[in-house]
């Protein structure tokens, strides 16, 4: 695959650089940053554990380099709009924070500088960069577009099954469900009683509906948004089976689930009101802390249940990339920061502070897996995910709005699964037609 071969080339390049550098002078962050001391960088952060971890690490970077990193925290829902407007207007942002589904948009508009520019610069490239150490799926999905890498994975998630072990044991289960069919046939009926529910699926009408709810039931059932010709695949038997399964599973979910976002869902598990949820790995620290969770001692973590087509867990997360609108000094300083904060050397500390690094080496230590019980499930999930869990092209912002509207209407029963899928498909194809995918003006990349 073109994408993977390119990432492999990058990995080789960085490995060669490591060899060369080892033989020559030792590279140091302090020396590399000297010409850029006093440079100020602007970046948007979110109010999530990974960013709070990075903020705690920032003083070390600033002390070592003299580069100041100014971060502005915005809600996720505003982050795309803020950045698009800033890049269109030629604003202040020097670093792009890229959600997996924004990479095509940002790259196609020329708002990012390819990583190669810096990796091939021995004065800026840390010999220990080791691109091959990133989980390949994560590096491909979060930071690469159309064969070119732009961003290094920074705030990394996989969908995991968080469960209340005590509640499961009380109902006679000694392990969490391994398949969605088990959830439907066994766990759902046994755990939905006395005002408690087996499962909560966050489905609010925003990106949560598209990413956490709709897509989650496409892939494990063999479905997908698009087929090989970029036509809608939502009315295929596999996609329909998955979406109908979601509909049927609602009998084991709390009433009003279409209004639930991450906060409500995590809280429901944390308060012991539901037996299990499928949520991003980033919520581990919230569910494990006795300050925010009443089930901290009962918390169990497993990979998401598998469907007929396998596990295919939800994949999400952010990379950091250098913005092309920054001047040369800011670009160099931005790269040094991105390289440092995502480095293998800092991965352990990032993890300790609540972040989730994408470095394979960080998870090799068995002691860490014992301390952070989500690690084995996370590593397993990152072996089985699909980069195009949600298409990552520039048209996704328009398509996700369509999915959000009809996805929630399906769940509410206002429209049948078949009709809803057909409506999404028709509107999605209109967006893709307009963008030029069917005329051959754009490559079929997602």
């Amino acid at each position: 695959m073109k994408l993977k071969s390119h990432v492999s080339a990058l990995a080789l390049a960085s490995a060669s650089l490591a060899g060369l550098a080892g033989a020559a002078q030792a590279w140091s962050l302090e020396e590399a940053a000297k010409p850029y001391a006093g440079t100020e960088l602007e970046v948007l952060f979110l109010d999530r554990p990974g960013y709070n971890a990075a903020i705690q690490m920032l003083p070390d970077f600033e002390a070592a380099t003299g580069i100041k990193v100014n971060h502005t925290t915005v809600p996720y829902e505003n982050a795309l709009g803020e950045q698009v407007r800033d890049f269109v207007a030629g604003g202040d942002l020097d670093i792009a924070l890229i959600d997996l589904v924004w990479i095509g948009n940002f790259a196609e508009n020329g708002w990012l500088v390819p990583s190669e520019t810096f990796i091939n610069n021995p004065e800026l490239a840390d010999p220990a960069l080791d691109m091959a150490d990133f989980f390949p799926l994560v590096l491909d999905a979060f930071g690469s577009w159309n064969g070119v890498n732009y961003g290094l994975p920074f705030d990394n998630y996989s969908g995991l099954l968080f469960y209340n072990r005590c509640m499961l044991e009380a109902a006679g289960f000694d392990k969490p469900p391994a398949t969605w069919q088990e959830v439907m046939d066994t766990y759902g009926p046994a755990l939905t009683k006395d005002g408690k529910y087996a499962y909560a699926l966050q489905s609010k009408r925003n990106e949560t509906q598209s990413a956490d709810s709709f897509a989650r039931f496409l892939w494990p059932f063999g479905g997908s948004f698009l087929n090989a010709e970029f036509r809608s695949n939502l009315n295929s038997p596999e996609s329909q089976a998955g979406l109908q399964f979601r509909q049927d599973l609602m009998q084991f979910m709390p009433e009003g689930i279409v209004a639930w976002d991450h906060a409500e869902t995590v809280n429901a598990l944390a308060q012991g009101d539901v037996a299990f949820i499928t949520e991003w790995s980033a919520f581990y620290s919230t569910l494990k802390s006795p300050e925010t969770s009443t089930i901290a001692d009962c918390l169990g973590v497993a990979p998401e249940p598998a469907g007929p087509a396998g596990r295919r867990p939800a994949l999400g997360g952010f990379s950091l990339a250098v913005a092309s609108q920054a001047d040369a000094a800011e670009q160099a300083a931005a790269w040094l920061f991105i390289q440092w904060v995502t480095s293998a050397a800092n991965a352990g500390r990032y993890l300790e502070l609540g972040g989730v690094p994408a470095r394979q080496s960080a998870y090799a230590d068995p002691a860490l897996a014992e301390q952070f019980t989500f690690i084995p499930a996370l590593v397993e999930s990152w072996q089985e995910g699909v980069p195009e869990f949600r298409p990552r092209f520039a048209e996704w912002p328009a398509i996700t709005e369509i999915v959000q509207e009809y996805g929630t209407r399906m769940m509410l029963g206002e429209i049948s699964v078949e009709e809803g899928a057909r409506e999404i498909g028709t509107q999605m194809e209109a967006v893709l037609e307009d963008a030029g995918y069917y005329s051959g003006a754009k490559p079929l990349a997602q």
Binding site: G81, V84, A268, A394, A398, E405, T408
Partner: protein, 292 residues
């Protein structure tokens, strides 16, 4: 003797206001009008081009747009009559003589809902109406009523938006109508009360004619407010569940800020502006009469 003010002095006084209005009001409006004739998507700037009336054609044939207009109209006809009825009742009570201290206190407290930021009102609603942890359902539980799914059910969510809008804007209507009642000459009102003991007759034949300008102002302002109702609904339901509370301003924001289709959003906004102007003119023509 008539003092003639030099034109230059008049221009000096009016000029800054006109300039400010031109910069913050007219210029963006003209820019939006210009962009409404373009295919202008922030994420596809390379293909920016003049499309004439195509965006208007798209809007006028878009069922989502007309559905949102319908929901907005339903919100208006549901909420505003309640606000006027309750506001008039509050104004009449506050207009009665006596209890000065309590009336002052009431007037002050009436300002609070209006002074609360719209987005905060929406967030409060989201928390207070939460099915499991919200204070409203807890209070309903005290009187034996089962928890209501306010935000997750399309009909309930719509009703919740109406109730929240009534809560926030009834005080405004009350204060405007109270000001209107103060324009009724006391001697006419006293004379009327000597003629009849029926408060309804006094209201119908004496006070109401003086309230017409206030009511027209309320109608115009509440129409404009309803058409641009955004913050409260966005933070409360974000237009959902489904599109149960996707009012016109929420739709325009979605197209402009989340799909980045500025050209289409501009066309939607211009059409909304035209509707607002027509409605305002209609109110004035139908209802407004100078009180003689």
């Amino acid at each position: 003797m008539t003092l003639r003010v030099p034109r230059r002095t008049i221009a000096a006084f009016i000029g800054p206001a006109v300039a400010a209005l031109a910069i913050v009001g007219v210029a963006p409006l003209l820019y939006a009008l210009w962009k409404s004739f373009h295919d202008f998507n922030l994420t596809q700037l390379a293909r920016q081009r003049w499309v004439g009336l195509q965006n208007y054609q798209t809007v006028l044939t878009d069922s989502d747009f007309w559905d949102a207009i319908g929901r907005t109209a339903l919100l208006f006809v549901s909420a505003v009559p309640v606000q006027i009825a309750l506001g008039l009742a509050i104004a009449l009570v506050l207009h009665r003589p006596g209890l000065t201290f309590w009336k002052t206190l009431t007037r002050l407290s009436l300002v609070l809902p209006m002074a609360t930021t719209y987005a905060v009102v929406g967030l409060l609603a989201q928390v207070m109406l939460n099915q499991k942890y919200g204070v409203i359902n807890q209070m309903l539980g005290w009187v034996g009523v089962d928890a209501i799914n306010f935000i997750g059910d399309p009909t309930n969510a719509f009703i919740a938006v109406i109730l929240w809008d009534v809560w926030q804007w009834t005080p405004f209507v009350a204060l405007v109508l109270l000001a209107g009642l103060s324009t009724v000459p006391p001697e006419i009102e006293e004379a009327a009360r000597l003629e009849t003991r029926s408060p309804w007759t006094v209201l119908r034949h004496v006070q109401l004619p003086f309230l017409i300008p206030s009511l027209v102002a309320v109608l115009i302002l509440r129409t404009a407010d309803t058409l641009k109702l955004f913050d409260m609904v966005f933070t409360m339901t974000r237009g959902g569940p489904g599109n149960a509370t996707e009012f016109i301003a929420i739709l325009i924001e979605r197209v402009g800020n989340r799909q980045f289709d500025i050209g289409l959003a501009a066309a939607q906004s211009i059409i909304m502006l035209a509707i607002t102007i027509v409605l305002a003119r209609l109110y004035i023509r139908l209802f407004y009469r100078e009180v003689s």
